[in-house]
Amino acid sequence: MTPSREILFNIDVSEAMALYLLMTIPIGLVAYGLARRVSRWKSGRPENRVDQIGHRIWNLLRVSVFHGRIVRRRNTYGGFMHLAIFSGFVTLLIGTSIVMIEADIAVPVFGVSFFHGNFYLGFKLAMNAAGLLLIAGVVMAFYRRLVLRPATQQSSGDDLLLLVFLLVLAIQGFALQCLRLAITRDPWAAWSFVSYPVALALQDVPVETLTGLHQLNWHAHFVTAFLFLGYVAYSKMIHPFTALANVLFRRLRPPGELDPIADLEQADTVGASRLEHFSWAQLMSVDACMHCGRCLEYCPTFSTGKALRPRDLVLELAGLQADRGGLFSGVLGEEANSGRYRWGRGAERELIGGAVSTEEIWDCTTCAACMEQCPVYIEHVPLIVGMRRNLVMEQNSFPPELAPVFTSLERLGNPYQNVPAERAAWTRKLEQPVAQMSEVAASGKSVEYLFFVGCIGSFVPRNQKVTIALIRVLQAAGISFAILGKEETCNGDPARRMGHEYLARQLAAKTVAKLNFYNVKKVVTACPHCFNAIRNEYPQLGGNYEVVHHSQLIAELIASGRLTLDAASSLAQGKVTYHDPCYLGRYNSVYDEPRNVLGALPATDLTEMPRSRNHSFCCGGGGGRAMMKEQRGIRINQERVREALNTGAQMVAAGCPFCMSMLEDGIVGVDAASKLRVHDLAELVAGSLQTPPPRS
């Protein structure tokens, strides 16, 4: 006899068919919910997200089937939990579909049957395993929500109800099988390894009771599935659709590149003060959020008690959108930042000042820890900068301390109210002069690198030391380079991240014109903000250069033997920890070169902070925050300094002038000046140079 079983055993076929028809109701509801969402997304601005299809599809598979962004080294519990629920649920769904295909299509339409033999046995095995996985995942989820309760997760009724649904569905499925095996004495029952022992135990129960129970359970299972499906469109269970859509259509440009405002000169409104001002893809992205809270894990504002919590910002936007789309998903819970949906329509509210507060918008350091963490590629920073753009350029509303910064950038080309003529004043402190681009061009010569010094490295005394140290290193290695000197102006990054796109573009265009005029091919910079802007954003304005951060260049010079370091003269002694700058690490994936440089210093011992590399914790200075007052919560830089102190290191190595000044500030703030120093990589290398640079 071939192994098989009767489909729709013990159930009236015509009743079952009628009930199956009924399922079109929740399916219709899901379709309606999705259609409403899609129509909301379509109200957004155009944006091309359908290029590189092959890459997109591969990425979709990587994230979904292979759980590439879900299971991560730092998110194993949640990752495997999701993998268990996902694989269990999907397998069961496929299994149910197979049974349906056999019963409703293959046999009646084509007269073929495949639900027997080894296939059937394998099916039994797989479905039991899947059910077990699902239950295991759900139990893990309950355990995390109710017992572990991580700070980044708040559980709402919605979260728990969904888990209950899944658990009940799985248990009902097993119960059905146990009862059927017990009634039919299925000779292949052992293949259902979970249900089999229970079925054996039930064999003594009278068959009538079992049949009655089976029927009851079948109907209950149907009702549960019916309700669950209906609930999908109006809960976070919509995420398989929205999240996958967002993964498929995610932004593929470099994360460090903010999109320009295309028609800035002509636009009547700029930035985002209404949902429709975001692009369709951005509107879609907020619907993809399933409140996992991962974006909070390394978020400096969340960790230091500020208004901004990236998850809640996304959820507020999604809630606003749901209200406008007639989806009844409502606003977040009563208390602000509760991170959960509430049933019922939300109040009429503005985007800025209603759904999202201006405090939240200005809190962000644009560190991208949220974007790095988000499993479904939601991009928080462009959302926030979009709203900043509107606040600054249209509403003329921003923290008051920024007005002099903007004015100074406009008039003087630097944020610090310094006279442009003094920009190269630091060169007077050099032992060996440095060439200026204008002189190089006038003499008809050329240099390999333009050293883009940046404002902070030009004007702030502490950072001038770094600039000078880097010059010494470059000179020692015999690199041919020049600076722009007085002709240099701010690259535009701070203005851009603060939402002043207009000013940023003026500054950037000026620099691009200069660089192109001098026919610059390669740029080296000691500031990750200059680095990121010139590397990732200048191509928007026709500026295409090979840009390196000084850590990359120095690492290469050490590796190729052009720099030799001496242990005896070392400034770098003992335990050192390295602080990853967001604009170098997360935005540009430069993690190894700075560490290689530190590794090459003879007398140092690198020790990592718990939060490092792509999980680095921001110094608090990005996104223009270094120029704003930090009024809420504990200070971000002090939080980071405490982390550095805990490693037992005596020194923090920095690769960014803003990080350096934030950290030095933080050290003073926690009164640790005697325990911890901050030095730039260039200073450490310059301090260890074997031979002083030859005097010319």
Binding site: V270, E394, Q395, N396, A403, T407, A421, Y502
Partner: protein, 256 residues
């Protein structure tokens, strides 16, 4: 009521300025911005506009490089802006051109700053008042409407931390002191719109000014411009006042 604000664009030059070959002014490069002192005059005018609905007209004398300060004034809220196309530096001449430009405008009040950051002559305002035969007040720190529509109550700064309050007949010219009103940031979108729209300019011949008229008034010549000589050997002295005094006297006598 109508207010005319006279503004000047000043350069933030990267390169050092040099005198023009004929000495009639200075050559500068780079962008021009609103002279800080005039910015206060504009802000004060706009405050009056907010409170009394006055009409504000911004006027400047300058080359095309200076037109952006008029965009700024429009973006901030001025109703009209006029540039007289002339690249002049001599305060005598600038005030003369302004006086002609203002002939065609109706005004109850003329506001200017107290000085320009590049020329620093502090003359244009006062000289304009004189040429128009208007009462003028220098270094105004506060202004209000006096008894009756045609009087102003004006407070001005005297030396030694004293202030003087005057009653002035309208129309009048006031050179406002820096700090009279808080400076506001120019709304970028409005600035973009103003730049897109542009500002009208009038030539000297439109105003009926001939070359001879200007030449007659040209009484000064720029000969040389030198940067401030900085001595980098700053020394910090310490000790009690007596010791300090001795060190300083010693240094001075050595230097003499």
């Amino acid at each position: 009521m109508n207010i005319v604000v006279c503004l000047k664009a000043v350069p933030t030059n990267v390169k050092d300025p040099v005198p023009k070959s004929d000495g009639a002014g200075i050559l500068t490069e780079g962008d021009c911005f609103m002279n800080a002192s005039d910015d206060y005059a504009l802000e004060q005018a706009l405050l009056l506009k907010k409170d009394f609905g006055t009409r504000v007209t911004a006027v400047t004398v300058g080359s095309v490089r200076s037109q952006d300060i008029l965009h700024v004034s429009l973006a901030k809220g001025a109703d009209e802006a006029i540039r007289v196309d002339a690249d002049e530096f001599d305060p005598n001449i600038v005030s003369f051109i302004l006086s002609r430009a203002l002939r065609d405008l109706s005004y109850d009040l003329i506001l200017t700053g107290v000085e320009s950051s590049d020329g620093m002559s502090s003359q244009v305002g006062i000289s304009l008042g004189a040429q128009l035969g208007l009462p003028y007040v220098y270094a105004v720190t506060k202004m209000a409407f006096g008894n009756g529509e045609d009087r102003l109550l004006v407070t001005r700064e005297l030396g030694g931390g004293r202030y003087q309050t005057l009653e002035v007949d309208k129309p009048a010219l006031l050179c406002v002191q820096s700090g009279i009103a808080p400076l506001t940031y120019t709304p970028p979108v409005k600035l973009i719109h103003a730049r897109r729209k542009g500002v009208p300019s009038r030539s000297l011949s439109d105003l009926g000014i001939t070359g001879e008229e200007l030449a007659r008034r040209r009484k000064t010549k720029v000969i040389e411009i030198k940067p401030l000589e900085k001595n980098s050997s700053t020394q910090w002295l310490s000790g009690n006042p007596e010791q300090l005094a001795r060190v300083i006297i010693d240094k001075i006598s050595k230097a003499l």
